[in-house]
Symmetry: C2
Subunit: 336 residues, 2 copies
């Protein structure tokens, strides 16, 4: 009579054993049928599958993990969720992983190396099959942290671990070339924190080209932030640069807004190039010209490399470097 879910009982989940019993086959056959492994007769398989479906059977992946040593879970560790760059990356990683049948634990470290260490430990305890790691800083050697769990590092330089990078140096150069090609002679640089190699390289790439083909008017550092420090605000107000290369889009956006607020028109009075191509870049006013890295491809490569290591730990340790590209929008033009 009552098919309603009022028969809650203790609501125990149905197990493979229940299915096997209901289907009147052995545990093994049920397992074979459901996983498509061993050998089972066609009608048996079909029958088991039907029963399982009818009983709403769901595998217990913890149990399976214990037997197989594989959890089918991956970990993603990144410094800060609030930063839009990491968000794009997270999305790509999660989707790539899903496409390969993996689920991902996501955690951020709030920029704190202590939390980072704890996060790594936690992932290992949880038995993730692999870790995609965007470290806070470059590291001499990261092997102690990962405890033999297959890991690939994105964007940073960490000894002893496979890495996926973009060609930051070339990217910086690309930005500078663009500015010089436009005819700019007096160019300023506002870098992000120089503590990470990827930032040093962007700026080195840009500066080398600028010094050779134009003039470097200033070279300042700012936090990885939309808010500008006093010295860079002053440099903008001094107006002796006709163009600025910013080491990150967030900073570039800050530059644009400070310039606008102090009466400089972008791009007429001041051209601005960023780096990263975060989503915000498209909706800024004017839309930001920037250097893009192929985030999606980098994420896919990270996952591929990771799963390759999961299959067989004896992988050569590689570092794959992706090309960057100039995305020309409206924040740059010829100097007046």
């Amino acid at each position: 009579m009552s098919t309603d879910p009022a028969d809650v009982k203790s609501a125990k989940r149905v197990t493979l054993k229940d299915v096997a019993k209901a289907a009147e086959v052995s545990l093994a056959s049920a397992s074979y049928a459901i996983n498509g492994t061993g050998s089972v007769g066609d009608q048996v398989r079909a029958h088991v599958l039907k029963i399982a479906e009818a009983m709403c059977y769901r595998q217990n992946l913890s149990a399976r993990a214990m037997r197989t040593g594989r959890t089918g879970a991956l970990g993603l560790i990144l410094p800060d969720f609030a930063n839009p760059f990491f968000t794009s990356l997270a999305q790509s990683v999660i989707r790539s992983a899903r496409a390969q049948g993996y689920c991902v634990f996501v955690t951020d470290t709030e920029g704190d190396p202590n939390q980072e260490r704890k996060a790594m430990h936690l992932m290992v305890e949880r038995g993730v099959d692999g870790i995609v790691w965007f470290p806070i800083h470059d590291l001499e050697n990261g092997t102690a942290l990962i405890n033999d769990t297959p890991t690939v590092v994105i964007d940073r330089t960490v000894g002893g671990i496979e890495q996926v990078h973009a060609d930051y140096h070339a990217g910086g150069r690309l930005a500078a070339e663009h500015l010089v090609a436009l005819g700019h002679k007096r160019i300023g640089v506002v870098s992000g924190p120089m503590s990470v190699l990827s930032m040093r390289e962007r700026c080195a790439g840009a500066i080398a080209f600028i010094e050779q083909h134009a003039g470097l008017v200033f070279n300042l550092t700012n936090a990885f932030s939309y808010d500008l420090e006093a010295d860079v605000r002053m440099a903008i107000e001094r107006r002796d640069a006709t163009a600025i290369f910013a080491g990150a889009d967030l900073i570039a956006l800050g530059v644009i807004q400070h310039a606008s607020r102090t009466g400089l028109r972008v791009p007429d009075d001041l051209s601005v190039v960023g780096f990263d191509d975060i989503p915000w870049a498209q909706i800024s006013a004017p839309p930001l010209t920037t250097i893009e890295m192929p985030v999606e491809e980098m994420a896919a490569e990270a996952i591929d490399a990771l799963l390759r290591r999961v299959e067989s730990r004896a992988q050569p340790r590689r570092k794959v470097v992706f090309e960057t590209a100039l995305i020309e929008r409206k924040s740059t033009s010829r100097p007046l």
Copy 2:
């Protein structure tokens, strides 16, 4: 001699048994010591802990999960990572969960109800202790999907499941009040997709107040997107509204940029209010006046409610509603 990790062997992880053996105690005592459960002598506990540390012991949480029926993992399911609103929410959920010792599987459904169903199943299989769910649409009844896993829904209305909402109606009214208080008499509305209750309520709240205290010049719908549809672009260009309420910040930003592009100054010629207070709102030009919901508190409440249900399923099903607030920035002013 060689203490270097060259003795890789088969690199088997050290188990509790190994620790117990090395510490010369029973498995149980080792477990007690490490989990701080049962009763163990102080020196024994200390000894076990030291050995475990020295051997780099890490619990196997799959095994523990199998015994205890608890995985210590939560699932977060949301429609779309690219949308900045979900990102803030995800960050808050992850941090709240971490504070309570939980790790979270994150997945997006790309706005596809099919993927949503699959995601729910996957979470159940993985044995998450609970699910924080931001559904794509409102649902008559969601109980079939969750298969008895404790779940709390955010922002949507789903029958049979605990919910955490903001007071959308009051928020919409707040926005309208602000515009009317500024002296606007001709106000337009650009809503987001009306298929979800939270959007219908925002707009209902705004429109009711506008019709009573000013004039509703137009009432259009747009996708949840920065890009504007033809009819709303035309409505803006027609210039018979001095202010616009947008059902979402993303849309508000689109309105601002289209207005600017067609020669309207914001806020002088056109005031714009949004809804959500996404991170981008602060950096738009001009910074966007908007209605904020307390995302962090909502996430914390969701996690709390969830964990309460995890402790004991026999919780009354509640719906908790948070207040919204007006964030006054620079996109609104008195009409000229």
